[in-house]
Amino acid sequence: MAGPLLQTKFHVPRRRRALVSRPRLSDRLTRGTESALTLVSAPAGFGKTTLLTEWLADWLAAAPAAERSAAWLSLDERDNDPALFWRYLVAALDSVAPGVGASALALLQSTQPAAEAVLATLLNDLGAVPNDVVLVLDDFHVIEAGEVQDGMAFLLEHLPPQIRLVIAGRADPALPLARLRGRGELVEVRAADLRFSPDEAAAYLNGVMNLALTPQDVEALEGRTEGWIAALQLAALSIQGRDDVAGFIAGFAGDDRYIVDYLAQEVLQRQPGSVRDFLLQTSILGRLNGPLCDAVTGQGGGRATLEALDRGNLFLVPLDDQRQWYRYHHLFADVLQAHLMEEQPDRIRELHRRASDWYEQRGERSEAVHHALAGEDFERAADLVEPTIPELRRNRQEATLRSWLEALPDELFRVRPVLTVGLVSSLMVRGDFDGVEARLRQAEKWLDPTADRTGMAVVDEDAFRTLPTAIAMYRAGTALVRGDVAGTMTHARRALDLADEDDHLARGAPAALLGLAYWTSGDLDESSRLYVDAMVSLTRAGYHSDVLGGSIALADMRLAQGRLREAMGIFERGLQRAERSQPVLRGAADMHVGLSHVLRERGDLDAARMHLQASSELGEHVGLPQNRYRWRVAMARIREAGGDLVGALDLLDEAERVYVGDFSPDVRPVPALRARVLVAQGRWAEALDWAQERGLSVDDQLSYLREFEHVTLARALSARYTAERDEWSIREAAALLERLRSAAEDGGRTGSLLDVLVVQSLASQAQGDLPAALISLRRALTLAEPEGYVRIFVDEGAPMASLLRVVAKEGDPGSYVRRLLAAFDGTKVRKPVSPEVIDPLSPREIDVLRLLGTDLDGPDIARRLFVSLNTVRTHTKNIYAKLGVNNRRSAVRRAEDLGLMVRPR
């Protein structure tokens, strides 16, 4: 099941033969197409589905087919797995607006399913749908998962006006209904509206069912059922063919019993014994077809029986147009099951067992597991679940896997090592690390070759073979989360040693963890070597989005090593890889931000700014979780370079607010960046306050993790000396810097070394020791020139400019120093490019614009973007208007001038 979707869930229920027409409700539903949400909320058996079916058919018929379409999705409990829910929802929309879900579906399968990313992509495509679409989500009350409800609220908030949502269910959904009501964006049909009025009851009983009842009888039935449609239907079925109708009605009306139970029993009693048995035994099935019913009852003729029940209108709901799949009406199914439990309690397990077998033979594992669990056949369920784990994981159906594993009794895991490790990974995905080690030990004890393996149950032999690797890997992961670097290294190395040469995933993941551990400890040569290996393995294993995330870490390591060019190459290749993929891979936005960082460092502020703009145009959903903060830091540094220190501080404050941690060490913390800007503003006292709060001191033992903060402290102390001339500050700063310099040299961290040398040079200058200042500076220049560093000098302003002028005077300055000096002037006179002068293009228009710059023709562009040719024409027209041009070539040229065509350099 992890693979194909059940087509019966998309089936729009067909119109029943004859119905009571309900114009007042249909009118209200039609009005609902003007509102964001229509809610049909009432208990079971109130005719919700029938009303919607009936209305949809009329609504669709009232306009040309090209203008209106409707999608239907019947939900069940399993859709509480967000990965599955969104796949179904997107597929339902895709069925009426072909192509509209392609990007979202690809995203769902290719990356971690961040619901908002998937939905943003879907919404973007829905915006281009030309016709009106109604999406009905039936039985929405089964959805309890908060993640799904949040996603639905987000979707509802951003739905384009031509897409209308109808939610039907037995309970009000956890959506912001009051707000929608207040804005007039909610149309409701509730139980009071759905109850049959006396007239409707008469029309049903005498018109549709042809019962020829007296007005008194109709009144009695209507009164007793209070217009509850399912009860009236059951009553009508009970009355059909009865002689003493008045007596039956009188007996029924004077009875206090649960109506449905009373009437269903009446109906059941009048069925032949074989039909009654069939109904009870098949009541355990969520869906029924002939062969499945045969398997469960152990008899033939299931299909014929179903057809007969359907003809007799016996609460059977068809799930397709071929009359293959049916289900019982929920109310009726409940009554049948209650009877089954009372009359044949010992048979229930066997019935589930047969259903489970049938589904297993057909390869429908999810249904097979469902029935095994329902029949409390846990051994069987475990046997079925174990080999499904890799597939569920690939499809990111963590919630489904967890719900299965949690339904299994604990003692079962004791003898099932593979299943136990599956449970561990499920716990870790949820951030639950507590019981992990005990579980791993439990699994591990079966791995000892001398152990007695009798009693052990393993279905997935491949997984058992690689279990030692998996166990070591999960141990490394828990150690890293606990901040235990040594433990991470030990376990990750063990996992790497144990992994097969050709098992790329099993090699890539521990190599990356080991790399992170070395990075945290400041050994960048080793960490980057491991990371390169990890990325190669993960690429081979097809985990492209994870590779993009990893390349950010690798580029960060290169930056610390002072290898600006390599960092740039990593981001460029990453961007190409991300953009080659359709849809653009999550992480593409991060690549632009990375490029912006490097380009700014090299002094190309315009290009740096354009990449930031390109990153925002891609949208947040194409960014990894940290991109929000990284983007703001990058923009803050650009503002700082432009002399706007106040603006830089604002952005850093924002960056701090949106910061989220991940496995990578936070080696350039935002508060430290902020403190540096404060120093540049002359607010060194506040920077020193920050250092005190952070518990930083000049005597600290040095570690790579705090290197950036320590250099920042030295800057603040040096600034205090410049202002107050207190010898203590400069002495302490100088000593700290000297220690930092040798630590950076030892760790091969040229990037850090440059940072230290620049501060050392300025500190010496402040003390009036020009020769020492020049020694530090010259060394920095030698290291920085091959990599093209600019801002690390130029951001220091006038004091650095005067030192560089001395260097220039004292000998042949070389083109590098001249370029740096020129950059100081540029900072003052630089004119901002302002793409804002034009009416901003929408993200979709920018997509079209970029493709206009290629050789693709209109139909090709339409195919590439999964939209119609007409949509492309509309976008093109808008682009021309906004750019003030009238043909493709000038549009491209104008866009290039404005930096809108920005491409990897």
Partner: protein, 87 residues
């Protein structure tokens, strides 16, 4: 995980009389048809999640819900429910 605080005896009242066969459907709770045409469903639930599960099952039957009451264990344990109304 559940805590003992969540567990307890509850009485749920619904409109209409439910046949005793439905007791299995409601996880072995005891059903009592009251003379006012309602049914009391009484019994132990292990935690809040179980109580909500029970309420959902009730919702699915379409029986109108009248009240949900937590019973004081000191009283109800010793007080059997004598009124059994046969309609």
């Amino acid at each position: 995980m559940t805590t003992d605080d969540d567990a307890g005896r509850y009485e749920i009242r619904v409109e209409g009389h439910l046949a005793s066969r439905w007791a299995v459907w409601f996880d072995g709770m005891s059903l009592t048809s009251e003379s006012d045409g309602t049914t009391s469903i009484r019994g132990q639930v292990i935690d809040q999640a179980a109580l909500h599960g029970l309420l959902q099952r009730l919702r699915d039957t379409g029986l109108p819900l009248i009240s949900v009451t937590q019973l004081d264990p000191s009283i109800t344990e010793s007080t059997p429910t004598p009124r059994r109304n046969a309609t």
